[in-house]
């Protein structure tokens, strides 16, 4: 087991009302799982994804990662864990607009202070892996949406994380490109034994899951292999 949530509660106060964005959610994820999280809009999927490694702090509940509790540790320590062990892929790609493809991909290595030459070597390998060797010096706005998402994927795996968190990675892509990205994620999951937690509202994407969570109004309605 790599990740476990126990009784996760996240409450928001919104215009005097209390919303349970996550309502006593519990789940277990094993190493190498491809978890898909589905549910209607506003059901708490993004909140769950961001809460797991401290980008959102819980109201109550426990999170255990790699055998250690991480819900009660400092922001600093959580930041360190995100840097070393987690990769993020977002719906809107979240690339830095003024950096080229290869520069964007090197950011996680820069944060880990990897020497420049090794950064370039590893970035080239990864970009080859995602099929973007010929787009290394382009800026994000100069390439297509599908290519941008592949950069984001390359960036999320370059530092060899244990787990990838993807929030609707195909939400901005047409069906063909979506399939391409999904196949990619599947390949990463299988070949590199990287655990993936992917939020999606697409039934097609949900089918990629080896484990499926379904949320509704902050509660887990269904969890199956």
């Amino acid at each position: 087991m790599i990740l476990q949530g126990e009784n996760i509660l996240k409450q928001y106060h919104h215009k005097g009302e209390m919303i349970n964005a996550l309502d006593h959610v519990s789940f277990k994820v094993n190493k190498g799982d491809f978890v898909t999280v589905t549910g209607p809009s506003g059901s708490g999927k993004s909140t769950l994804l961001l809460a797991l490694f401290g980008l959102i702090r819980l109201t109550s509940g426990n999170i255990i990662f790699d055998g250690k509790r991480i819900d009660n540790i400092s922001d600093r320590q959580l930041t360190e864990i995100r840097k070393k062990s987690v990769g993020y892929i977002l719906q809107s790609f979240a690339l830095i607009p003024y950096l080229t493809t290869i520069q964007n991909v090197m950011i996680p290595l820069a944060l880990e202070k990897v020497p420049g030459k090794e950064q370039v070597k590893r970035a080239r390998e990864i970009l080859e892996y995602v099929g973007l060797s010929d787009r290394m010096e382009h800026l994000p706005r100069e390439i297509s949406a599908g290519q941008q998402q592949r950069i984001a994927i390359a960036r999320s795996i370059i530092h060899r994380p244990q787990i990838i968190m993807a929030d609707e990675p195909t939400g901005n892509l047409d069906p063909t490109l979506s399939l391409e990205i999904l196949e990619f994620l599947k390949k990463i999951n299988r070949e590199n034994k990287i655990t993936i937690i992917m939020v999606t509202h697409s039934p097609v994407a949900a089918e990629y899951g080896t484990m499926k969570l379904h949320l509704n109004e902050g509660k887990i309605m269904e969890s199956g292999k």
Partner: protein
């Protein structure tokens, strides 16, 4: 990829914003540097010129300033030559020597030079360098102990040396300052045509570092004739006995010389010191204003930059960038801006000083290199101070609110 590289790329990609961010600091520093470079030279020049005066009392036309006397513009006021006679025939005691002068800026060829008419015998060859060039005549007799204090502070100690007159300067002879000689390619025993009259260059004077370097000295009568200002002079330099000065020599002179301004070198020096102190105060106030205006303007620029890059900050924090990385990003940027602003301000200010100095103050301004260090340090301090608060806010941003996409 490093954070520094990220900062540099971002700076480069947003060059135009950069210029706006730097404007206040750069201009502020430029103004101060320009003022300082000019005033440092003018301060030095006044001290040097006074050193070389050799006299301790100046009689100037009413309304003329010491600057008018040095710049010698075409419309500078004059006073009657008769005043020399008037002093001589008066009963006033304590006047050891008088040297009347007429000074005008004239064109020789296409060069502007200062033509000064002097009376040999009475002209005080105060300049130690002049003396070494063998122009000296007999030592002037003094009626009382020489005033030690007037010039001592400026480094010329040997009063006896000063109190000697130029021996001869015949009609149609002239002496050329070292700069003039260079500009007009003059040599000893050469000839020069000034306003249609031929002069014989009897001597090229050694360099003194004063306005004298830019002058041509000729016989006063020749100069008066040439300029068509007969019986008028620009000033009378008087070597007065200091005891007499303290006993009211100035007042006595004023009584017999109407429409003149009579001052001692001591007064000129202390006025200059007062002006300098005032300039220092003004500069200090300007520094404080620039600190705040520049700081606020840089802070404003960084804050706009932070807001524009909110999402980027969120992305970096998501990927595991600590708060310290956010500090590093924006403070490095502020540091680079500071160094750039200081450097540009120095260049601009020095350039302005060097270009405008000769026009505005009639002096040659040279770059003061140590100011580069001060400009950069000052500018970096402003920039960092102004950026600290916006950067603190940027580092405190909640990463997830900046990641939200809908």
């Amino acid at each position: 990829m490093t954070i520094l590289k990220l900062v540099l790329i971002e700076l480069w990609k947003r060059k135009s914003q950069l210029i706006t961010g730097l404007l206040a600091i750069t201009l502020g520093i430029a103004v101060i540097i320009a003022i300082q470079s000019v005033s440092v030279v003018s301060e030095r020049n006044v001290a040097r010129n006074l050193d070389n005066l050799g006299a301790n009392i100046l009689v100037l036309p009413q309304g003329a300033s010491i600057d008018d006397y040095y710049t010698s513009d075409i419309d500078a006021p004059t006073l009657p030559m008769d005043y020399v006679e008037r002093i001589l025939t008066s009963t006033i005691a304590g006047v050891d020597n008088m040297s009347p002068k007429l000074t005008r800026r004239v064109k020789v060829g296409d060069q502007s030079v200062v033509l000064t008419g002097i009376l040999p015998k009475s002209e005080i060859a105060s300049k130690p360098l002049w003396q070494s060039s063998g122009l000296l005549g007999a030592e002037l007799k003094t009626t009382c102990a020489p005033n030690q204090s007037a010039n001592k502070s400026h480094g010329l100690e040997d009063d006896k040396l000063k109190r000697k007159a130029i021996d001869t300067l015949n009609s149609k002879d002239c002496l050329a300052g070292s700069q003039v000689a260079k500009k007009l390619r003059l040599s000893t025993n050469g000839r020069i045509n000034i306003m249609g009259k031929e002069f014989n260059v009897v001597k090229i004077l050694p360099e003194t570092g004063t306005v004298d370097d830019d002058r041509i000295f000729a016989n006063l009568h020749d100069v008066q004739q040439l300029l068509g200002i007969e019986n008028q002079v620009s000033a009378i330099e008087i070597m007065g006995c200091c005891n007499a000065i303290s006993e009211g020599l100035l007042g006595q002179l004023r009584n017999i010389l109407p429409d003149t301004r009579i001052t001692t070198i001591g007064q000129i020096v202390s006025t200059q010191i007062e002006t300098n102190q005032l300039m220092k105060k003004v500069t200090l106030i300007m520094l404080i204003i620039i600190f705040f205006v520049g700081g606020i303007s840089i802070g404003n620029y960084i804050w706009a930059n932070v807001n524009e890059r909110k999402r980027e900050i969120g992305i970096l924090r998501m990927m595991g960038a600590k708060r310290s990385i956010i500090y590093k990003m924006f403070l490095l940027k502020a540091l680079i801006l500071g160094v750039g602003g200081g450097f540009l301000g120095y260049l601009l200010g020095t350039f302005a000083g060097v270009i405008l100095g000769p026009y505005l103050a009639g002096i040659v301004v040279k770059p003061v290199y140590i100011y580069l260090l001060w400009s950069v340090l000052f500018s970096v301090a402003i920039s960092l101070a102004g950026s600290l608060f916006p950067t603190y806010l940027a580092a405190k941003f909640d990463p997830h609110t900046n990641l939200q996409e809908d």
